[in-house]
Amino acid sequence: MTKRTAFSFFSVYYKPTRIALYRFKPMSNVNKLFSTRKIYDLKKSDALFVKAMRDNCRYQYGHCPAYKEFLDRFRFQPDDIRTFDDLQRLPFLPTLYLKKHRMLSMSERRLPLKVTSSGTGGNKSFVGFNLRSIWNAFKMVCRVAKYHNLWSARLTRYVVFGYRPRRDNSLGASKSAWGFTFFAPAASRIYALDYKDGGYKLDLDNIKNKLVKYSKGRLPVRTMGFPAYTYFLLRQMKEEGLSVKLPKGSLICLGGGWKQFYAEKIGKQEFYDLAFEVLGVDDKHIIEFFGAVEHPILYTDCREHHFHLPAYSRVIIRDVDTLLPVPDGVPGLVNLLTPLFDSAPMLSILTDDIGVLHSDPCSCGETSPYLEILGRVGVKDVVTCAQGAEEILKDFLRTDDDTL
């Protein structure tokens, strides 16, 4: 009976004539959440987080017919979100689904920033940011950077293990790496993937030479990029017997996950040891970020290298078979929640990652639980003969898989 009431309430409430109202009132909880000052104090932000999620859910329900249909199928209404536990019941969308079906709650014209994920097999996630989401994300980045002492007034040399930004490159990884070069004023920026003669070319030798040169100077260096690329370069330098000491204040920043490593099983400690040996940077100056195009929350590791959950998001770990929540400490599929996006119903997404949420105390002093990514689903990556045949059959016979 209550559900029925809620339903009719929305159909009235979201009549176009009333749209002006939501802009001022219900979404303000989201703004408030992204203005939180104590970024790792989850207890304090829990109630606000729930309200912000409910507001976002209401908005998506009213503006994205596909999302409305989705929630209706699960007999779930935005107003069912009352407590934190209700968020566990909120139906989640898999990134796999979002890659195949673009869901939007507003016109693309209202989205000044558009980003795609580096998807494989032609399927990419698309996300768009309206002005308000950009502003909220900006506030978040500023606060997280402040907490982790990323702001600096000293001129800095940036080394990006990624793409040189171009207007036609909408990759999220490229945009976030570029954004990273503004925490401290840039003396220079170099990129491992440079655009030359109509295509991106990898030039690690250039990076290597520059790092050697920078180590003799005074300006601190900040590197940014995939752990795998960084590791590859470090190993190459070690093999060539190169060992330098980067100027004081230099940082090695990693982002984009360790997914390329799961097969090789390279431990983080091994990476830290290598970085110290080759570049003279200790692990207190190695910072790792985690985030996803579909969930652009800036997770930053603490000095114990743990990804504590910030106030802007929550994580639910789900059983690999039943998709039901599991207790802390038990590994499962990673379900990420945030009310950041206005433009699309990405408030609760199920990723392809396997992770575990730790609630034991961390010596860094923060009480927020921390997320450890253990691997990616399907990575045993067995090479099979049957799979190879399928690849070609797909080309050969018409498939209805690729809607994008």
């Binding site: 989705f70 969308l93 898999p94 796999l96 689904y97 195949k100 079906h101 690999v320 078979d321 998709l323 590994p331 499962g332 599929l333 199920l350 392809d352 396997i354 691997g375 990616r376 689903v377 399907g378 990575v379 045993k380 067995v382 090479v383 099979t384 003969c385 049957a386 799979q387 190879g388 045949a389 399928e390 690849e391 070609i392 059959l393 050969f396 016979l397």
Partner: protein, 419 residues
């Protein structure tokens, strides 16, 4: 690592050795060792004996554990190298009288001769396979050049140097290079030295081989295949349980693994009833067998949840990492693997029509029906292009069986006639 005439060299010597190779090949071809066949049999047999005495346990046991193969099965597989089995293989593939073919037309003498030089482009999905491919080439009397798969564990070089250690005369018949497939020019040079190129691997590898070989080089393709089961309404629970066991034990990863079941009906209700019946059997079997790898179950749960949201399939049943998905088309496709099966309707009258477009990819069909239906259905499946019609265990192996419908030794030999 390079193996050249029984000696191991570092990869940096690659170009130097390949420059020398044509001369060495020509020398061996002009002065063939007529006892090659006996030497291979003898060396193989010694290795087999060493294996059953535990001589390879240091490398074998970690591999067996990784792939969940029992030690007993390893011993059975090792028998493939015994003198008895190698001789049996020759007589099955080349005929009982292969060493003594009767003359033709009164006086024309016939015999099998090797192609000459074989270039094996190996795939990395089964560890012992590159070495086995070379052994087959040797059995037919060929000189063999092996290109190692990327990420080779070193097992191939170890096995082949051991083979040479048993019979040093084989040294000039075995060359191993670790050339990356991307070094197209080197690959092409090696391919041009060969009379036949043996290509293991998917279509990418097969296309690459066609690009690098001249028209005067024979390509022997061992490509990737797909297999499935075909069931009629007379199928018994016991047959389905055995199929479920096959699915759990191979994790649907082999060319011969069952990807899904075609059911002989044109009625969706009947199809759905069958799917429900098989799901219960698969679930029970899975419970007894032990769950599949968690990362794979996670991948399939996300996939099945997405399928449910997309709402295009008439029925999706899943539990504990196993699933049965009923689909409306009759396309042969890869399953999600790791105990996740598709079920599609395929009336027996449509078998040839629906399966024929998959020519070249068809391998095994596990035929689950009554005895009286068997012959007609087998005929239709063979007409569609299948090469093995088995019962419930699609991945059964035995000595002397053909490989994807052909005998390798015939592919690696030619028949010569001397008037």
């Amino acid at each position: 690592m390079i193996l050249y005439k029984g000696k191991i060299y570092p990869d940096s010597k690659q170009n130097e050795l390949i420059d020398k190779l044509p001369e060495d090949l020509l020398f061996t071809l002009s002065h063939p060792n007529l006892a090659v066949f006996d030497k291979v049999i003898a060396a193989g047999d010694k290795m087999y004996r060493k294996a059953i005495d535990g001589g390879y346990d240091d490398v074998a046991i970690p591999l067996l554990n990784e792939f969940g193969i029992s030690y007993q099965r390893y011993i059975t597989m090792a028998r493939a190298f015994s003198a008895e089995v190698l001789r049996y293989k020759c007589s099955v593939e080349l005929g009982d009288d292969w060493q003594n073919l009767p003359p033709l037309s009164g006086g024309t003498v016939r015999r099998f001769a090797p192609l000459g030089v074989l270039f094996h482009v190996a795939a990395g999905n089964v560890d012992g396979l590159p070495a086995y491919s070379v052994a087959e080439g040797l059995l037919a009397g060929n000189i063999n050049i092996l290109k190692l798969p990327s990420g080779d564990s070193g097992l191939s070089v170890r096995l082949l140097s051991d083979l040479i250690a048993q019979e040093p005369d084989l040294a000039e018949y075995i060359y191993v290079f670790d050339v990356p497939s991307t070094e197209f020019d080197t690959m092409k040079r090696l391919a041009n030295l060969a009379d036949g190129v043996v290509v293991w691997g998917g279509d990418l590898a097969q296309h690459a081989a066609r690009d690098m070989c001249g028209v005067n080089t024979v390509i022997i393709p061992w490509g990737h295949k797909l297999s499935f089961a075909y069931a009629t309404p007379s199928v018994t629970d016991e047959q389905l349980d055995a199929l479920a066991l096959h699915i759990c034990s191979t994790e649907q990863l082999l060319c011969s693994s069952c990807q899904g079941i075609f059911f002989d009906t044109d009625d969706e209700e009947e199809l759905i009833a069958f799917a429900k019946r098989f799901f219960e059997i698969l679930k029970a079997r899975n419970l007894r067998f032990g769950k599949a790898d968690a990362a794979m179950r996670g991948r399939n749960s996300v996939q099945l949840y997405t399928d449910r949201l997309e709402n295009v399939y008439p029925l999706i049943l899943s539990d504990e990492g196993v699933s049965v998905v009923v689909k409306r088309d009759a396309r042969l496709e890869l399953s999600y693997t790791f105990r996740n099966v598709w079920i599609k309707a395929l009336p027996h009258t449509q078998i040839v029509k629906e399966l024929k477009p998959n020519k070249g990819y068809l391998q095994t069909c596990g035929l689950l029906c009554s005895d009286k239906e068997k012959q007609t259905l087998a005929d239709a499946l063979i007409a569609a292009g299948l090469v093995r019609i088995t019962g419930r265990d699609l991945s059964r192996t035995f000595f002397g069986e053909a490989h994807d419908g052909v005998y390798p030794l015939r592919q690696y030999s030619r028949v010569v006639e001397i008037d």
